[in-house]
Symmetry: C2
Subunit: 239 residues, 2 copies
DNA sequence: ATTACTAAAACCCGAGTAG
DNA sequence: TCTACTCGGGTTTTAGTAA
């Protein structure tokens, strides 16, 4: 895993050319594309597209067989490695971005559900702490919300099972382990959980946080204060 | 989530400029960098770096405060979205690449362990099938091995617990659910499991596969035949 | 129909330097 | 010091075509 490789300015166009080829590839092993089509794909002329393919071949990022009218392109190991490296770098970048939200009024309807006995006992047991019977509402802007969802895709979650009482059904609740801390005081991290990210309230991107202390008092928060959510990547197995 | 956005040829340099800024950012909210340093980062002159920053500002990918000698740069929502989109695209590309390996001689030492009673009963129970008492060895080239590891990072796994008998200790074994099928016959997928990816044998990238049938016969495989591993992304919670 | 060469046009970079 | 303008030179693109 050498760290010396970087795409240099005179290779930007080639990198994007490779990227577009990979997109076209899908699950197949090789691509049939002529330089005119490739030009359309890249928004450049046929001539430039042709030259790009020559460049990629010289770089050993692709290999090809020109067979009369047909040009069959394969991505080489090196080419795949180039893509993989960029993926890893972007992943690292996105992982390092902190998710921030603003303290929002109200306790969130989640707060009401937490206190219900059928849920509460499970929260205690499965989260490993005895939660305050209410939630902290954090309002995330589009990009923080989008990033949070992206990060949660690959994350393990805890399921609080739904149940029935005489009147109604209570659905499953999904939680994700996290820490929260105020932007102003990064030292003071509190173990917490994000509740049911799926449901959006009031058309805003509200995320409800569950923790042992009453966070508004504990962190001395006012509406609009910024709070950071730090996800916990569990390493535990499936079963 | 508009899908209309694509980085165009006249924006490649700007995209990479943004990428390098994001790398520099880390967990901070803003970057203090002058155009000379930025030039070094991008391997271009101070003048070009300066122009790049102007471009990024016009694109609304960054915002900045020039405060006499100091230039403070923040990535905008749009800028973050640009990065996020590329991340998603690359993720999609890598997900769609099939992992292939060549059938390799021998049964792998894993085959010996599978048959041991302390393990075997767990395999049966936790994998949901009664495995053949031997493994299929697949030899992956560097890039397939690298990709496999990358994909497994975010994946759930099944732990087969270690145990002790009178003579020795048997360690934990990690398995990942997957399907396997021969490259020649994509229709014929068999439920299988990848054993303990961590250990490399003989300096090669050997991956051992566990399945109910004796795969060499079932697929009529010879050494060197190519077999595809398709990972199964479980949606199950942690507990 | 292809790919890809040549040559002119368009574009970009960086040295010099202003503010 | 810094950013960023101008402009000459170099590079890249594309139109026209050859193969």
């Amino acid at each position: 895993m050498s760290k010396d490789f970087e795409v240099a300015p005179d290779n930007y166009a080639n990198w994007f050319a490779l990227y577009h080829l990979c997109q076209k590839l899908g699950k197949r092993k090789e691509i049939h594309i002529n330089s005119t089509e490739f030009g359309v794909l890249l928004s450049v002329s046929q001539q430039t597209a042709s030259r790009r393919i020559q460049n990629l071949e010289e770089l050993n990022w692709i290999s090809r067989n020109i067979d009369g009218k047909q040009q069959i392109i394969e991505i080489t190991e090196l080419g795949t490695e180039i893509m993989l490296r960029m993926y890893r770098m972007l992943k690292k970048i996105l992982d390092s971005i902190l998710i921030a939200g603003e303290v929002s009024e109200g306790m969130g309807e989640g707060g009401y559900y937490v206190a219900i006995e059928g849920y509460y006992n499970q929260f205690k047991e499965k989260l490993g702490f005895e939660p305050y019977k209410g939630t902290l509402n954090l309002d995330l802007d589009e990009i923080n919300y989008s990033l949070l969802r992206e990060k949660l895709i690959d994350m393990r979650f805890v399921t609080i099972s739904g149940f029935k009482d005489e009147n109604r059904n209570f659905g499953d609740v999904k939680c994700h382990h996290c820490y929260v801390f105020p932007l102003k005081d990064k030292r003071n991290k509190v173990k917490a959980a994000i509740l049911n990210i799926d449901r959006t309230h009031h058309g805003k991107n509200i995320v409800e946080i569950l923790a042992e202390p009453f966070l508004r008092d504990y962190f001395n928060l006012k509406d609009g204060d910024r709070v950071i959510i730090e996800l916990i990547y569990e390493d535990k197995p499936l079963s």
